[in-house]
């Protein structure tokens, strides 16, 4: 009986062994079959088994510089001259003729040796389908100041508030991209920023500023995308309502192109190869920075003294793949002052000038900064 069992066992073992040996040859046969000749012409004559897919305009065009999911960078301006006027904080009820006096009443001047700091940006897809894209983002930017002149600060002046201190901008933004068909799309963006000299202990909604943009556009083919719309922006320092235009283009040979969102930025792009590219152009950056100690002259009022900072950055940028989906970037160029004036918002009431079209409210302070060379180095996690 035992002998019979051993025989059965050996027989079954042999069958199992045979099965294991044969299996790889089956798999191999399938792979070989896959490489058989394909009748390519057969795939030209087809019909949809179910319904047809609706085509939508892609959010990008070919050849664009990589879209950045997360960026960590550092930026620094070289030394430059400054001149600050006296500060008028009586609000907008004061005599307009005094504006001239403020313009001409120089209070402080000298040289700023260091302006710079950390920059972080995150842009995370929440929904990303061919028919709809929703992204949420976060940005943080530091501007630390070190004055290099020996002039004593004027008591209650701006130098006293900035020297050795840091202005911050932290914000959340959301972007919606909605294509309607193969060529037409809509782009919406809303942003809430807190800009000023705050710290975690005095952070509040008095620093909060909103901006938004809405554009409608076309993507006629894979190498061209354009859109026009309207935006509320703080890029020139004070709030403004300005028309915006998006224009992205890549040449037929894909070696060069244009990436522009006017008036915020415009760049000429040259692709050295798939992992190296150069950008040359300008970006307009700015915000309205609340300075806490100059903001509340009257107890009980939530007034706001705000530096309307707007700067043009003319620059050359080199982007290169570091490894995989990580790229690094080096920017070098010139920071040109557009605005460093200040407004005193009486009890927080915002004023709108829109380049003098909607109003000519006087400034609380008229300042100017000399041009400064600057550089920015960053590492990004990208979607090429």
């Amino acid at each position: 009986m035992i002998h019979l069992n051993i025989k059965i066992f050996n027989y079954l073992f042999f069958l199992s062994f045979l099965f294991v040996c044969i299996t790889p040859f089956n798999v191999l046969a399938q792979e070989e079959g896959e490489e058989e000749e394909i009748d390519w012409a057969a795939y030209g004559e087809v019909e949809y088994a179910g319904g047809q897919t609706k085509s939508y305009a892609n959010a990008k065009i070919v050849g664009l510089s990589p879209a950045k999911f997360i960026t960590v960078g550092y930026e620094q301006q070289m030394p430059y001259d400054y001149s600050y006027s006296t500060i008028q904080k009586d609000g907008y009820s004061f005599d307009r003729e005094r504006q001239e006096a403020i313009d001409n009443n120089l209070a402080e001047e000298g040289r700023i040796g260091y302006t710079g700091g950390l920059r972080i940006n995150a842009n995370i897809p929440v929904i990303s389908k061919n028919s709809f894209i929703w992204q949420m983002g976060f940005n943080y930017m530091q501007s630390a100041y070190r004055f290099s002149d020996d002039n004593a600060p004027v008591e209650g002046g701006l130098k006293e508030q900035l020297d050795g201190r840091t202005l911050h901008t932290a914000g959340l933004f959301t972007t919606f991209y909605k294509p309607f068909n193969e060529t037409t799309f809509m782009l919406l963006q809303a942003q809430a920023d807190m800009s000023g000299d705050y710290s975690l202990s005095n952070l509040g909604d008095q620093y909060l500023r909103y901006s938004a943009a809405a554009l409608v556009g076309k993507r006629p083919h894979d190498r061209l995308q354009w859109a026009v719309g309207l935006s509320r922006t703080y890029r020139v320092g004070a709030p403004n309502y300005v028309p915006v235009a998006l224009y992205n283009y890549t040449s037929k040979n894909r070696k060069w192109g244009i990436e522009a969102l006017l008036p915020a930025r415009a760049f000429y792009r040259y692709s050295i190869n798939q992992t190296n590219l150069l950008l040359a152009g300008f970006a307009l950056e700015g915000g309205s920075y609340r300075i806490a100690e100059l903001s509340n002259p009257t107890p009980g009022q939530v007034s706001s003294f705000e530096i309307r900072r707007g700067e043009i950055k003319a620059r050359l940028e080199y982007q290169r793949q570091l490894v995989g989906f990580f790229w690094w970037s080096l920017q070098a160029g010139m920071r040109i002052d557009y605005s460093y004036d200040a407004d005193y918002l009486d009890n927080g009431t915002e004023t709108l000038r829109v380049f003098g079209i909607l109003g000519d409210a006087p400034f609380s302070m008229r300042n100017s900064l000399g041009p400064a060379p600057y550089f920015n180095v960053s590492i990004s996690f990208v979607s090429p």
Partner: protein, 153 residues
């Protein structure tokens, strides 16, 4: 005797589980066929090789490179040795494994437009519709597209 009993039990277990595996394989084979991405510029034939699924480009709306007038080549591939390989016939979907419940995972998708290869997951929305997601690292950093099944005439 005890050894024989264990062996027979193992064989029995294998036989019982085989129909389940066979059913899984059958469900997984729902991916096999010819599919068209939403942009309509290409058609991809998905086949099964061993236990994995692969898709190759079998048709291009613009088969010729407008610059050269010759068939389009994989000139954006980071591997320069592939620059002379024709795009038609290129295996752009690789290594998908059937996870169950109409989902194929662990695959990659190649984008000939920029030469990048992304991690990918495929979901069967209905028998003729695929939701195909390409992503980098985490599924959050990605984008989905809808592919439709085609029948050869």
């Amino acid at each position: 005797m005890k050894k024989l009993f264990i062996f027979l039990l193992t064989i029995a277990a294998l036989y019982i589980s085989e129909p389940i595996q066979a059913q899984d394989a059958k469900d997984g084979d729902a991916l096999i066929g010819v599919w068209e991405p939403s942009h309509g510029k290409a058609r991809i034939k998905i086949d099964k090789i061993a236990d994995k699924y692969y898709g190759r480009i079998v048709w291009l709306k613009e088969p010729k490179d407008p610059q050269t007038g010759e068939p389009k080549l994989d000139k954006n591939n980071p591997d320069e040795s592939m620059h002379s390989a024709p795009l038609r016939g290129y295996r752009m979907l690789k290594d998908f494994e059937y996870q169950g419940d109409g989902v194929w995972v662990e695959g990659t998708i190649y984008d000939p437009e920029n030469g990048n290869t992304y991690s990918s997951e495929i979901t069967l929305k209905d028998e003729n519709t695929l939701d195909i997601r390409g992503y980098i690292g985490m599924k959050t950093f990605g984008r989905s597209d809808v592919w439709k099944r085609l029948k050869l005439k």
